[in-house]
Symmetry: C2
Subunit: 284 residues, 2 copies
Amino acid sequence: MAEALVKNGLEVSLIDRSPQVMGTLDDDMGALVSNALRDFGVTLYLEESLTSFSTKDGRVTGVVTDKRTLPADIVILGLGVRPNTELAAAAGIPLGEKGSIRVNERMETGIAGIWAAGDCAESFHLVSRRPFYIALGTVANRHGRVAGINLGGGYATFTGVMGTAVTKICQVEIARTGLQEKEIAALGLEHVSAVIKSRTKAGYYPGAGEISVKLLAEKGSGRLLGGQIVGMEGSAKRIDTVATALHAGFTVEEMINLDLGYAPPFSPVWDPVVTAARVLAKKL
Amino acid sequence: MAEALVKNGLEVSLIDRSPQVMGTLDDDMGALVSNALRDFGVTLYLEESLTSFSTKDGRVTGVVTDKRTLPADIVILGLGVRPNTELAAAAGIPLGEKGSIRVNERMETGIAGIWAAGDCAESFHLVSRRPFYIALGTVANRHGRVAGINLGGGYATFTGVMGTAVTKICQVEIARTGLQEKEIAALGLEHVSAVIKSRTKAGYYPGAGEISVKLLAEKGSGRLLGGQIVGMEGSAKRIDTVATALHAGFTVEEMINLDLGYAPPFSPVWDPVVTAARVLAKKL
């Protein structure tokens, strides 16, 4: 929305109580997205909380934070996502993570014959090995396929999610998968991380843009725990390599040996994901 | 070269003794590349062999094939790659696949203290589990790193290759990894394959282009053996997901469960690679 409004000539302020926008990234990677928004012309007010609105004649005229009042013609609230499970709870169906409907691997709820799928239903995180709530179209779609097959008398299981997500803000591509720092800490695990800067294509190739890759691995074992990417065109879908490596349970050392595609229009000789793994391996 | 010459206004004919260009792809996928070259204005003469040149006053005036003579002002020969190992052979160093220098995992030749790396040296194929010769910059670079570390008194091993390669002809992106049909047959394995057509982005998103994905799996076990991709911008690097799955030894069923990135600018809800896996799984 901020991007669309700036493009249409509006003066846009974005208030976020977090240190950086995109809380699904660690702060160091989120800062790259914050900067991209600033470069595009969005004014950011970070670590600042909305407290109320100032109004006049029943219309909002300003946004009041814990630090200032910003005059406003239009206010758009993006306050997060919560599963809509009141009906299920009232019917006695057990809930799980963040109030989502608890399901088994076949997407069946705690009451036999009642199934759930989509943004109301719980998932299983394949890295943390714990129940997990994530409201994404891909996950909902996969949920639906599994629930549908089972409802129709077939047999299918939903194996779980990696927390993979990609998005685009202005020209900047953003991707993440696996666990971020705060999730790793919440599990009581210790990690080592590396952030590298590289290019999306061979440096001399027209259109080569900057790409930053962060990889996180478990201290000691070197087991890959997650990855985050922020960069120009051709950056986001590189997260699929990290997601697939997570599915495989690879260590950082195993990632170094990946035989990935190289040609000047697509990548430097060492793919940025592999470069990140090489830098991270030295820190383990 | 064909692309560059057409762009410069020359009339270009391409002669290939194979049924399709790009012999590193199966014929059904190679046909997509052949068609892209034809659409760009290159005249193809396939399943046709060069036999000699017609000359006048010591200059080439035409190319003689087993079927015709084509008048020519410029002739460019692309006849493949062969390792330059005469010196090594004369020195008594054992050779391996296609005359390349046989090396152990540390890139040491059959003679202690003599090391080899790059287009002259043999590799190990991680799917066929056999020695393999491949002349690619990425492989040479990885060879060099391993040989260099060992030469310097360190310890490193070259784990092997997947045969991953990407390239671009005109606007068409081309990628392959693992084994192709003729390689699978040569190993005495049987396979099942599926080819799907999808889009590089959500269908309604500006710039969504066609992408074709072929996956090959072992009959019975469902073990992934290889993949090939031909499509518009955003196609080629999707091969990295297949290459990483090959490193992991995934079955087609395991590929269906991959949690890959989705957002409209980057992919349909079901990534084309996963769609191919779903279609292939039904054929196993």
